[in-house]
């Protein structure tokens, strides 16, 4: 189901402009905006890998951590200049993701989630034990800010321009031949193969792209917080990235960004101390039950739709995850009766 995607990049650019102009008014708003931007990138990467490629990855936090540690080690310890370090922070997580994905793409969604969770655990344990490189439990402190973007207001602009670039790349992939092929793969792998799609490399490339996005978030995180330790970007970050994407609407390009801002606000204004988890957990359950396709999915239902507009997006589980027998079982009947016998006069 190829949706003519409204110009998400334009919408995102406008939102980014508003954020960058309003945030500097108050220091804590600025801090909130920077953090929301960084975590939007991670939840965007979850939206890309799960929402579009159907790969349920719980390792987005780990990819961000790899990006962060690479920046901390090469940037601070070895003193490399900023741009090569940024390139490395994008490429290394992408390579790690590509290799893992090739072993995982044919698994059922929940099995992929477990495998990625295990990978995230391994990354965390390596970060704790490889003292010479990652600084072990203490981590690495005193990471210099990005030259020229030391002031938080400027850094905020850098963060949100990264988010806009990520959306532009995300959108151009989804509108390209590979994006169309991906939609076919998510609907029915066999059909995609018949169109000449190499399924495993395509899905792995999508996870690699999402890992690069998470790596960029790691690069930004470590330059802002100037400190990285195994706890900073742990499995909790991966799970909340997925939550933010799913709550916002995983299959919509802007869903994850909306989800991130909403959940961050929720965390900021919930009463602190012991009861915080109770409210946060409760709110998550309620949102997940109420907004079935995420908030954007919910909104779509109220938007007036012309005949050619798509029906509300039904989250697709790739065909082979459902098809138990190898017989070409037709996936469950689409809502409309497959082929109306009489071909009624169609729309223009």
């Amino acid at each position: 189901m190829i949706r003519r995607l409204p110009r998400n990049s334009l919408v995102m650019a406008v939102i980014a402009l508003v954020i960058c102009s309003l945030a500097p008014l108050k220091a804590s708003w600025l801090d909130f905006a920077v953090m929301a931007g960084i975590f939007s990138l991670i939840s965007l990467s979850a939206g890309l890998s799960y929402g579009q490629a159907g790969i349920l990855s719980m390792a987005q936090g780990a990819f961000a951590a790899v990006g962060a540690y690479v920046t901390a080690f090469f940037g601070t310890r070895l003193g490399w200049p900023t741009l090569p370090v940024l390139a490395l922070a994008l490429i290394l997580p992408a390579l790690l993701a590509y290799c893992v994905a090739r072993g995982v793409t044919r698994m059922a969604p929940l099995a992929t989630a477990l495998a990625s969770l295990a990978l995230a655990n391994l990354v965390e344990i390596i970060a704790k034990s490889w003292d010479s490189v990652t600084g072990g439990y203490i981590g690495i402190a005193g990471i210099a800010p990005v030259p020229g973007f030391a002031r938080p207001a400027l850094f905020n602009i850098l963060v949100w321009s990264f988010v806009v670039i990520a959306i532009i790349v995300y959108e151009s992939v989804m509108q390209s031949a590979h994006g169309r092929a991906l939609n076919v793969v998510r609907h029915d792998r066999t059909r995609a193969i018949a169109d000449g799609v190499a399924v495993a490399p395509l899905l792995s490339s999508m996870l690699a792209l999402s890992a690069a996005m998470a790596g960029a978030a790691g690069w930004l995180y470590v330059h802002y917080v100037t400190y990285i330790s195994p706890q900073s970007l742990d499995t909790g970050v991966s799970i909340s990235a997925l939550l933010m994407a799913v709550v916002g609407g995983a299959s919509y390009i802007l869903g994850p960004v909306l989800g991130t801002v909403l959940l961050s606000l929720l965390v900021k204004f919930l009463p602190a101390a012991e009861a915080q988890g109770l409210f946060y957990g409760g709110a998550l359950v309620i949102i997940l039950v109420v907004a079935r396709n995420g908030i954007l999915g919910g909104l779509e239902r109220f938007r007036p739709r012309s005949d050619k507009e798509r029906a509300p997006h039904v989250p697709h589980v790739p065909a082979e995850a459902r098809a138990t027998s190898s017989a070409p079982s037709q996936h469950e009947e689409p809502k409309r009766e497959a082929v109306p016998l009489s071909s009624e006069p169609g729309a223009p």
Partner: protein, 260 residues
């Protein structure tokens, strides 16, 4: 270099059960080859061997002199062998144009990164795919239905879209999987006309079909499968008249002994 799709000596077994034994077929460019046989005779298994979904134990699939037996299915499509599905496997909310556009993926050479960064070669490929799709839609008479969701189409039109999608993949050899099943009389006529036009344009067609009138109209040569073996292979007239074919299809009259 022998032009054509030559499939010879194919043995396939599923857990001890011999699905195919020494089966084979030839598809020449510009010709229509028929493949008939009762259900369970191994037609679809042979079909899957050619398209790479099943790897035969023994035997060879040669495409214009190149051995593609062990190739992955998506590579075989890119080599020029495209197929249609008997029960259409499509997302019914796609429009006709989008469905055919998906087929053009097989002609796309640029990588994932080029698409992500919208590099010039990616943009060029996009334009080419769009142009090829529109040309195909005109050629196949689907242009006026281009914007309609597939769900609003009849089975016959869906089949035509499937053929168009296969051609969009740059098919030199077209494998049709029971295209006439469940479509109306007039739609069979249009189907026959289109297939004849395709063959005339140099495309080799392999037609797997139960509908004898269509087989008789379209096919230059026919291969008959029975129990995983090639019962008979020859030009249409001789095969159609052959007593064994009638027998294999219709079985013996009550009480008569089948010839040895």
């Amino acid at each position: 270099m022998t032009r054509g799709l030559l499939v010879r000596g194919i043995d396939v077994a599923f857990g001890g059960v011999a699905a195919l034994a020494g089966a084979g077929i030839e598809v020449r460019p510009g010709r229509v080859s028929g493949l008939i046989g009762r259900n369970g005779s191994g037609k679809s298994t042979l079909f899957n061997c050619i398209t790479g979904f099943v790897v035969p134990v023994k035997g060879q699939v040669m495409l214009d002199g190149v051995d593609i037996t062990r190739r992955a299915p998506h590579q075989i499509v890119r080599e020029g062998i495209a197929r249609t599905f008997q029960t259409p496997r499509v997302d019914f909310r796609m429009t006709v144009r989008e469905a055919v556009l998906c087929g053009t993926y097989a002609t796309v050479a640029h990588g994932f990164i080029a698409s992500a960064l919208k590099l010039p070669r990616a943009r060029l490929a996009e334009r080419n795919c769009a142009r090829a799709t529109d040309e195909l839609l005109d050629r196949m008479g689907l242009a006026h239905e281009a914007g309609r969701p597939l769900a609003t189409l009849s089975m016959g039109r869906l089949r035509m879209v499937d053929v168009a999608r296969a051609l969009a993949a740059g098919a030199r050899y077209l494998l049709l999987d029971e295209p006439a099943a469940g479509i109306s009389r007039e739609e069979q006529v249009t189907l026959a006309r289109e297939v004849r036009k395709l063959a005339a344009s140099g495309i080799g067609v392999l037609l797997v079909e139960h509908n004898f009138s269509l087989i008789r109209q379209l096919c230059d040569r026919i291969t008959v499968l029975d129990g995983g073996r090639v019962l008979l292979e020859g030009d249409t007239e001789s095969v159609m008249g052959d007593e064994r074919v009638v027998l294999a299809y219709l079985g013996t009259r009550h009480g008569e002994e089948p010839p040895s």
